[in-house]
């Protein structure tokens, strides 16, 4: 009914070209046959996709990345789920402060946190690099887990929980049978978002590399600094596919309006 301003519309379109155009260019480049990056490619091939699997390092660091992201996610959940529950369910002294405390890993520069972890957790506390990596990733995932789950719990009517308890269920049983199923979609979204945050992380992982230990982004970073061929473009396309698939999954669960509300 209302006419929208054409100037605004054009400006918006141009902005989205700026945001997405480069990603589209990567996609096209990844199918090029030349051994250097060119756009548009002169001939097409899947050679660079094959090259990912032939190059040493990508597959093994991918495995590390997946393990660290999943295991770190579990640790963050184990710590974050009760914290989110406590923060939403109860009123207590210092609640506001603790709320921001649990979000604070987002505020501390990643590169500083990475360095501090290297200096103390690995060198002073004598943890292995792998453990340090796991701890670092758990820390950066924690705010995502707590925030998303807490916002889910904010919409949960805790009188339902009391009803279950009044019917004879134990507290723990109530949590697993009543609370969790009701915040399921928020829980899954939290896990997915935290996973992506960890999977794409550079700032922490870059300090936690050692013999046989490195994550995929770090491997990519090192590769880009030494070679300039479409291998990274090919990996980028695979990573974008993963992101798109996970995003579609979240959209099904929560709807995209979720992102503007938080």
């Amino acid at each position: 009914m209302k006419q929208s301003n054409p100037v605004l519309a054009i400006f918006t379109i141009l902005t989205f070209i700026f945001l997405l155009g480069p990603l589209a260019i990567i996609m096209v480049t990844s199918f090029g046959a030349d051994s250097y990056l060119s756009f548009p490619p002169k001939s097409l091939s899947l050679h660079w996709y094959q090259h990912i699997f032939e190059t040493e390092g990508f597959l093994s660091t991918f495995k590390t990345s997946i393990i660290v992201s999943i295991a770190g996610n579990l640790i963050a959940l184990l710590i974050g789920l009760p914290a989110a529950y406590g923060l939403s369910r109860y009123q207590f002294w210092g609640k506001k402060f603790l709320n921001s405390f649990f979000i604070s890993p987002l505020l501390i520069p990643g590169i500083v946190l990475g360095f501090a972890l290297l200096k103390y957790v690995i060198v002073n506390y004598q943890f292995s690099i792998y453990t340090g990596l796991l701890i670092g990733h758990s820390i950066i995932m924690l705010p995502f887990i707590i925030r998303v789950i807490a916002s889910s719990l904010a919409n949960f009517d805790f009188s339902i929980e009391e009803a279950a308890i009044s019917l004879g269920a134990s507290r723990l049983a109530t949590f697993f049978k009543i609370v969790l199923p009701n915040i399921r979609s928020g829980l899954i979204a939290a896990i997915v978002l935290a996973f992506l945050e960890s999977f794409n992380n550079v700032d922490i992982s870059i300090f936690m590399t050692g013999p046989g230990v490195s994550t995929l982004p770090i491997q990519m970073l090192q590769y880009v600094q030494n070679y300039f061929d479409p291998t990274i473009a090919a990996i980028s396309v695979l990573m974008m596919l993963l992101t798109a698939a996970l995003m579609y999954f979240i959209e099904r669960l929560l709807g995209l309006s979720y992102f503007t509300k938080n």
């Binding site: 945001l19 990603l23 406590g86 923060l87 360095f115 103390y120 982004p217 880009v224």
Partner: protein, 276 residues
């Protein structure tokens, strides 16, 4: 009873963050004020005498400031447009802003290496159009860093502003229009002042994000260093952990000062009352 229970739920998280985040960072910071067992500020004095470091710091602040300003200028009209449309188109545009946000910073910076490189797309197009004869050196300059950072943080700004603008009722714009304001005046006098707090929060995220970003400057910045890259090199290449700790402390301090300042302005500018 209830009180104790709440703390019990929070305890594992508290211990974890204290042990692995707060303590290491505090120790890192406190180590910079010690020199052979004595309290000293020598490290800092030396640092701020170091012209190269000052240049790196200024460079970082300049790049972050430009990035933030560009993000504000671009995101305002775009977010306004998205917040006022309805239906499928809106979900599509939001999805298209979220997608880059969840995509790896390496992937996104890498795309600009393809575009801005000496033999990259931009130079190819400009040379074919005979706008330039010699390829431009855009990559590895502050400009390429700014482009990469704007690309990195713009979606964040757009999404947070759309959230704020959606909460501003259409009625307010219509009320202004019925009183004689044009669309533009209604935006300037009603929508804009009401988004200032959201704009400030978004700007903090972008500014602090650019200030501490590592990947994008590392890939697009070349020899133009920023503090995060400087920290990394001191720590991992030069093995000068004392210097790295000082840089880390300065980064934390700058971040906190900026966040504090912006929060203060935001609370002062906060419009009274609800947006209805």
């Amino acid at each position: 009873m209830k009180k104790n229970k709440a703390y019990l739920f929070l305890l594992p998280g508290l211990v974890f963050l204290l042990l692995f985040m707060i303590v290491p960072i505090i120790l890192t910071i406190s180590s910079t004020f010690k020199d052979q067992g004595q309290i000293s500020f020598n490290g800092y004095i030396e640092f701020f005498k170091n012209k190269y470091f000052i240049q790196v710091l200024m460079n970082t602040l300049k790049v972050s400031l430009m990035t933030t300003l560009l993000c504000i200028v671009i995101s305002l009209p775009v977010s306004y447009y998205i917040s006022r449309i309805h239906g499928r188109m809106k979900s599509v545009l939001i999805a298209l802003s979220v997608f880059p946000l969840l995509t790896s910073a390496i992937v996104r910076s890498f795309s600009w290496m393809i575009i801005l490189g000496k033999n990259g797309l931009l130079n190819e197009i400009l040379m074919n159009m005979h706008v330039i004869r010699e390829p431009l050196n855009v990559l590895y300059t502050p400009t390429s860093m700014i482009i990469g950072l704007v690309h990195l943080f713009l979606p964040l700004m757009i999404i947070s502003l759309v959230g704020v603008m959606e909460n501003i009722s259409d009625d307010l714009v219509q009320a202004a229009e019925s009183l004689g304001a044009s669309r533009f005046v209604a935006f300037r006098k009603i929508i804009f002042p009401l988004c200032v707090p959201g704009l400030i929060v978004g700007s903090i995220l972008v500014f602090v994000g650019s200030l501490t970003a590592y990947t994008t400057p590392a890939l697009l910045g070349g020899k133009q260093q920023v503090i995060s890259v400087y920290l990394y090199q001191n720590a991992m290449t030069l093995n000068d952990w004392h210097a790295a700790s000082i840089v880390a402390t300065i980064m934390v301090a700058v971040t906190f000062v900026i966040v504090g300042l912006m929060n203060l302005t935001a609370s002062k500018l906060n419009p009274r009352g609800e947006n209805s």
